[in-house]
Amino acid sequence: MKNNLKVWRAKKDITQEQLANEMEVTRQTINAIERGKYDPSITLAFKMARFFECSIEDIFLYEE
């Protein structure tokens, strides 16, 4: 699954640490998501979409 979380984070001008605190996860988790190494749960994806005021599809792109 691809994502453009880094872009959304840059738009909000927040660090990985700040986003991690907002999402109640570790900074390493945000880093792993950005690098495409870890796919977040649907709950975390919804939380991110709500935080960035967009839809899940705006951040995450599912590719077969």
């Binding site: 991690a20 109640e24 570790t26 975390l44």
Partner: protein, 134 residues
Amino acid sequence: MVIKVQTKDTGVLITGFFISLIGIGIHIFEPGWIINPSGTGGAFVGAGIVLIGLGIRSIRLKNKGTIVEDERIFYIAEKASHKTLTILIILQGILMAFLGITAFDIQAYPIVSLLFAITVLTYVGFYHWYKRRF
């Protein structure tokens, strides 16, 4: 400074304290029904100290506001546990077959200790391997 302690952490600290106490008791009184009192006592004290250490670490990190566990950590732990269990089942199966075929007379204590060591090392190894992967 106010130190917040959760019930789970208190439980871990108390359990660690009692396990250490049992270990010290075994080491001092050396009950006759225990084959290796110093080894058993040492194992209990070690386990107790590890629990106390983990409890104190958890309290300190939570007081700092550091998030210790999240869904990725649980995912990694799940993967590591599954792999460890698979390896242990295979190893124990081989061991059972070997002992069944050869009727090899072997003491339980070293075998259980070896399996314990393999369990810990396999889990820690896989945990770090998956942590680098995810």
